[in-house]
Amino acid sequence: MKVKCKVEEKSSFKRSLKRLNQKTKKRVKEAIEILKEKPFSGKTLKGKYKRLWKYRIGRYRIIYLPKSCYIQLILISLRDSVY
């Protein structure tokens, strides 16, 4: 049986999730399920923000802090991109 980590959704995360359309919300929920099983499957940010991780979903990034089997979801950030 796969171990699923505990997830805490910060209020800032909930606020940014609310702004997304249904299709993107569904993709975010799917990504959270992946993160529950593999919390370190994203990439770290840089410099003084390097404790935080990002998980990319198209134009969006889930910004989160993974600990040993406990994840804090902080926000969803948007950056336009062509690829």
Binding site: Y49, R61, I63, Q72, I74, L75, S77, S81, V82
Partner: protein
């Protein structure tokens, strides 16, 4: 230091290779032909010589030339780029920036087919070459959207106050990416004589630089947008 990052990339000049985009570039940048001339000088002086080096000689030469390359590339881009970005607070400037964002997206759609076809001819992984070019276009789109939304001076202020160290590290990766791509494109788009193994090494470096550029863009993006910056700052302070 941060101000030199707030410039468009030399990648825009690739548009001259696609007829219907070339005309658009002339309208967007009145000094476009001057920029192209200077970029070609940079290609001859800094990029061409790398292609005939042995792979084991490449790293030393690349590092040796990078600072001069940065100086020359900024000199080539500044006249056109600054005219555009400094007018972002005027209606005419805003229209041009919006057009340039649209241009960049069209450029990527067009250039990716060309890159896919040509890179296969040189036994390169087309997705690597496309991904590296995409990072430069993503950078341009990011800068242009921010200048449009918060203005040039405000963007420079926020970068300086909130991510000065990060932007300095980012700048080196960004210009290394420009350097590798301009060199690779000489082969892919102009069929310039080269060593196969050196070309492959340059492509692998460009993929690495592109990934770093994308990671830094995500970091800087959080720092320059007030809402995300406050959330992240508050969160980190409580940890």
């Amino acid at each position: 230091m941060s101000a030199i990052t707030v410039l468009t990339s030399p990648n825009i000049a690739l548009g001259r290779r696609i007829e219907f985009l070339a005309n658009e570039l002339e309208t967007l940048f009145p000094k476009f032909s001057e920029m192209v001339e200077k970029l070609e000088e940079v290609e001859d002086k800094f990029c061409r010589p790398l292609l005939l080096l042995r792979p084991e000689e490449l790293e030393k030469e690349f590092s040796k030339q990078l600072s001069s390359f940065i100086y020359h590339i900024i000199s080539a881009i500044i006249p056109s780029s600054s005219e555009l970005l400094l007018n972002a607070d005027k209606d005419v400037g805003r229209i041009k920036i919006k057009k340039l964002i649209g241009f960049e997206k069209k450029l990527f759609e067009e250039i990716k087919h060309l890159l896919r076809e040509k890179s296969s001819q040189y036994e390169l992984n087309p997705e690597d070459v496309i991904k590296a070019h995409a990072a430069v276009i993503n950078y341009d789109i990011w800068i242009l959207n921010l200048v449009l939304n918060i203005g040039l001076d405000e963007l420079i202020r926020r970068i300086s106050e909130r991510a000065e160290d990060e932007v300095q590290e980012f700048t080196r990766y960004l210009y290394s990416l420009f350097y590798t791509l301009m060199t690779i494109d000489l082969v892919i788009l102009k069929n310039i004589p080269h060593r196969k193994d050196t070309l492959k090494l340059l492509v692998s470096w460009s993929v690495y630089y592109a990934e770093e550029v994308e990671d830094y863009l995500d970091t800087l993006n959080l720092a320059v947008i007030n809402e995300t910056y406050e959330i992240v700052k508050d969160f980190l302070e409580k940890q």
